[in-house]
């Protein structure tokens, strides 16, 4: 189970780095945070899991979406 989650984490981060649409990248990053919160919970660190779920999947996603909204949605480089 832990191996599956780790492989999914690598896949999601590669998707986030390589994708041209920044909004989809932000959503993938949020899924990354949710999966790693699950991983932290399975490794018996519920404190870190709460923080990761609240900060990574919640607040930082909102801030990234606002940043994408007030700049460009497409990655140009």
């Amino acid at each position: 189970m832990i191996t599956i989650i780790l492989v999914l984490l690598i896949a999601l981060s590669v998707f986030t780095l390589q994708h041209r649409d920044l909004l989809q990248g932000v959503v993938a990053l949020s899924a990354f945070s949710l999966l790693s919160a699950m991983l932290f919970y399975m490794l018996r660190a519920p404190d870190v899991a709460i923080t990761e779920a609240a900060v990574g999947a919640g607040v930082s996603t909102v801030i990234f979406v606002w940043a994408v909204k007030s700049t460009d949605r497409k990655d140009e480089s």
Partner: protein, 251 residues
């Protein structure tokens, strides 16, 4: 032809960069994985035996970051304070409205297409916000005996405040969606945190030493106090940042 050669050169350089990054990660991580000596267990065993007795917190993580390492926690809160100040400085320098369309009155000529706030969003966030706020208070105040603590509870409280300020549409009767109020809460709770850390200086037991020793308040009271201060500070600070980004601010 020259263009293709240039592209080729860049791509070789890019691959070299990736290879170097992996090599650096391997150089750092492989010695950790490959050596077969045991992990040091002295600190772990010491905390397991004495942590709850010395600080009164059943949650060992809390007893470390508010008991043995409280000084580092003060530094973390200062880092967060600097981050919030920088963000607010940038927002007030570049203009007040980063996210247009979220306010009641800034969509042009009643054109509902430009309006980002929908009825569905208002109803859901307005009803869900208070529940999340109560859950955040629970995580914050019970951090000494269950998973959680000031930072975790504070971030959950910040999510609740953002939900409330989205759900009520920045109306005047909701005090938590005004950024001035949030800034005052953050400043006052940081001041109280510094004062609470200085109690030990007055009584002569040292900076961040626990002033409660069981009569009448048990030692865990100090951890609950610090957790509440840190939670209010983190929650108000992050909510202040996000409410200022939403645009309804009196900066």
């Amino acid at each position: 032809m020259a263009d293709r050669m240039k592209n080729n050169k860049i791509s070789i350089f890019y691959k070299l960069q990736i290879f170097l990054a992996f090599a650096a990660v391997a150089a750092v991580l492989l010695p950790v994985f490959l050596n077969d000596s045991h992990w040091p267990v002295f600190a772990r065993d010491y905390l397991e035996a004495n942590g709850e007795e010395q600080t009164g917190a059943a949650n060992i993580v809390s007893s470390i970051y508010l008991g043995y390492r409280a000084y580092d926690t003060l530094g973390e809160t200062i880092v967060l304070l600097v981050a919030v100040s920088g963000t607010i400085g940038i927002i007030s320098f570049t203009g007040k409205n980063l996210a247009t369309g979220y306010n009641e009155d800034d969509f042009e000529g009643g054109n509902r297409k430009n309006r980002k706030r929908t009825v569905l969003m208002e109803v859901v966030t307005g009803k869900l916000g208070p529940v999340i706020l109560i859950f955040g208070l629970y995580v914050m105040l019970f951090g000494h005996m269950s998973p959680g603590g000031g930072f975790q509870g504070g971030v959950v409280i910040a999510s609740g405040i953002i939900f409330i300020s989205l759900g009520t549409g920045g109306s005047e009767n909701n005090i938590l969606s005004h950024s001035g109020v949030l800034a005052k809460i953050e400043a006052v709770s940081f001041l109280l945190l510094v004062l609470a850390s200085a109690i030990g200086l007055i009584t002569g037991i040292g900076f961040f030493a626990n002033p409660f020793n069981g009569n009448p308040i048990p030692p865990v009271g100090y951890i609950i106090l610090l957790n509440a201060m840190i939670g209010l500070k983190v929650g108000a600070g992050i909510a202040y940042m996000s409410v200022a980004m939403l645009g309804d601010t009196d900066l």
